[in-house]
Symmetry: C2
């Protein structure tokens, strides 16, 4: 199938990467991704990049010059176009739908502004009454643009390319909801937690309850896997993480994951939390560049897959360094239960050719020395 | 001795906290601090707060309304006044001189702007020629205001109160020098490191060479101990930390530390680096709230003292939580080789009475259940 999205007047009627002829024996991207999530044997590791639809792509910047960020999220034509841009160009092994982790905050009833100075919630959640006002929303009614974008992506890409859905982990969404704009020391959210732990747990639980149908709607629309982003978990010490953030994350994962649909949990700056993160129930743990993947495997066991973890700053380095960073990441797990990714979102100023090199190198790196993979 | 600094027209001719009568058997603050740094027995843990001279104090805000930040750093009258403000009010066990970690960057030849949007170095270091231009400066000539402020503090406070000097660790100063204003993903400093590791090492080494006399001048002026701030070390993975940041830090510590003057090394978000940090040579390791002090002691051994590590956000919590956080931090090390502090700088919006409670609770907490300490 050809994608003929003409929003930008850009010619997009070229075959997509997976439509180009390949060895018949090679599994599809979807199959590769599924096997990696299940720690099954693969001929090579699948690779994608967090925030792969983003400002490092000139075609993205061009589209964003005409459309505000939230407009792109809420218009399935635009969201699909932006989601496909990196895939057309770089042919990674998964296409994550373009959206924002704060969409559910708005759907739960909070005003949301996404400006150049970062996200702002001008009426933050600060007390029990604020928590009580938050709504568990119907994702098809209130955020229908997101499952619709996933349906269209899934149709455009066919069954051979996995489409990924996502949401914030409850603690991270709570950080935005409580802090509003500023997050200096995360003082507002932590003092809420310390002053009124019961109400704060109610907030986390309410976010979890809203996140479950939100993710299920994405899965029903065709998401092959979903990722929870716990970007701010690293601000907590181990005890508070275990007492507050982890139970809400576990609640979401338990309700959402199935044999058909793995759940990926991304945790940033989480080195001190890993023993707890490993008990999250997630099928895949996605970590940043400060974690040794080998040590994480030893900690989490052979049934939990691992995603990561090249430092996004490495994509500013010479080609040689990018290649060696990819080889090292793959070497740590020897290709078993590993999805190659960055340790955090790709940075806006990243040279496109370096992103390309990252993907291409990941896809052509043999997972064991004796198993060379054909260059693409 | 009375301090009669009238810059603000504020009445400051009150006795300082240590001049108020006390039990003759109690060691002075300076003695307490020295013993804690050396892991010797103490009747209670000493306590101070990073960034204790700062915006949470109304008298600081009042002075800053009349004087720019750099002006305060460079005027010993103002720097002494601001350094003494928290001591007068809260009576902590150490007085850190008011200054900024970027002062040496300017003295090495870089333009420096410290505005409301954070520090800016408009002509950042990006290549070997830029590194070559950096000067090893004479600290008494170029930054004489700082040793002068320490001399005056030392005179004002007498031998019973330790005055602390400080500097950035080389990696952290390099981050500011190379990034300039933005630090999104630390891409500039890391790509410098990856592209030209040799020149980057030369930069770190040059910073180390400039930092040694800078700290020695502070010690000669009367600093009882000096602290290195490695605020950004947590951005590095363990290998890069060991290959780049650590050797330069070790170089400074080796040259500066002596029997008379301990060196404290503060590392933020360093959980993944601790085995290397423990080899820094520092007499005291200062860590944030994500580190278990007990585990750090097990790792670093009984001869390295530990400073920290209450989350600054806890100072927004109810009194009970502040008290229990202090008791837990002290309980972790049972008072041996421990300087109580926050895990990072006190936050600007912290209520003064909570800072006071932190100090008072720390000073009156028995280090072992059977050794009650008299309430101050």
């Amino acid at each position: 199938m050809f994608v003929t999205n003409d929003i930008l007047g850009v010619r997009t009627d070229m075959p997509l990467p997976h439509e180009v002829a390949k060895e018949p024996a090679e599994p599809s991207r979807a199959e590769l991704f599924r096997r990696a999530c299940r720690c099954q044997e693969v001929p090579r590791v699948p690779v994608w990049m967090m925030r792969q639809a983003g400002r490092y792509l000139p075609e993205y910047r061009e589209l964003r010059a005409q459309h505000a960020f939230l407009e792109v999220c809420k218009n399935p034509d635009l969201a699909v176009e932006v989601s496909l841009q990196p895939y057309r160009r770089l042919g990674m092994d998964a296409v994550i739908v373009f959206s924002d982790i704060l969409i559910p905050a708005e759907a739960m009833g909070l005003k949301l502004e996404l400006g150049d100075a970062g996200p702002n919630l001008p009426e933050p959640v600060r007390c029990a009454a604020d928590v009580a006002k938050l709504r568990i929303f119907d994702p098809e009614q209130e955020t229908g643009f997101l499952p619709e974008a996933i349906r269209r992506l899934h149709r455009a890409l066919g069954p051979g390319v996995p489409v990924l859905g996502f949401a914030a982990a409850p603690w991270t969404l709570a950080c935005y909801m409580v802090e509003g704009r500023t997050r200096e020391g995360f003082a507002s959210v932590k003092s809420f937690l310390y002053e009124d732990p019961r109400t704060f747990r109610a907030l986390l639980s309410k976010i979890a309850q809203a996140t479950v149908p939100y993710l299920k709607a994405q899965i029903a629309a065709g998401a092959a896997a979903v990722q929870l982003f716990d970007t701010w978990c690293g601000e907590l010490n181990l005890r508070d993480y275990q007492e507050f953030a982890l139970p809400a994350t576990q609640e979401v994962i338990r309700a959402v994951k199935s044999d058909a649909t793995p759940v990926i949990l991304y945790t940033k700056a989480s080195h001190h939390l890993l023993p707890a993160v490993a008990r999250s129930g997630a099928d895949v743990l996605s970590v940043d560049w400060r974690v040794s993947l080998r040590e994480l495997r030893a900690l989490a066991g052979p049934r939990i897959a691992i995603q990561g973890n090249v430092d996004p700053a490495v994509l500013f380095a010479p080609a040689e360094k990018i290649r060696s960073a990819v080889a090292e990441a793959i070497g740590e797990l020897q290709g078993t239960g590993h999805i190659l990714n960055l340790g955090h979102g790709i940075l806006p100023a990243t040279p496109v050719e370096n992103a390309q090199l990252f993907i291409r190198t990941g896809q052509s790196t043999p997972i064991r020395p004796e198993q060379p993979v054909k260059q693409r």
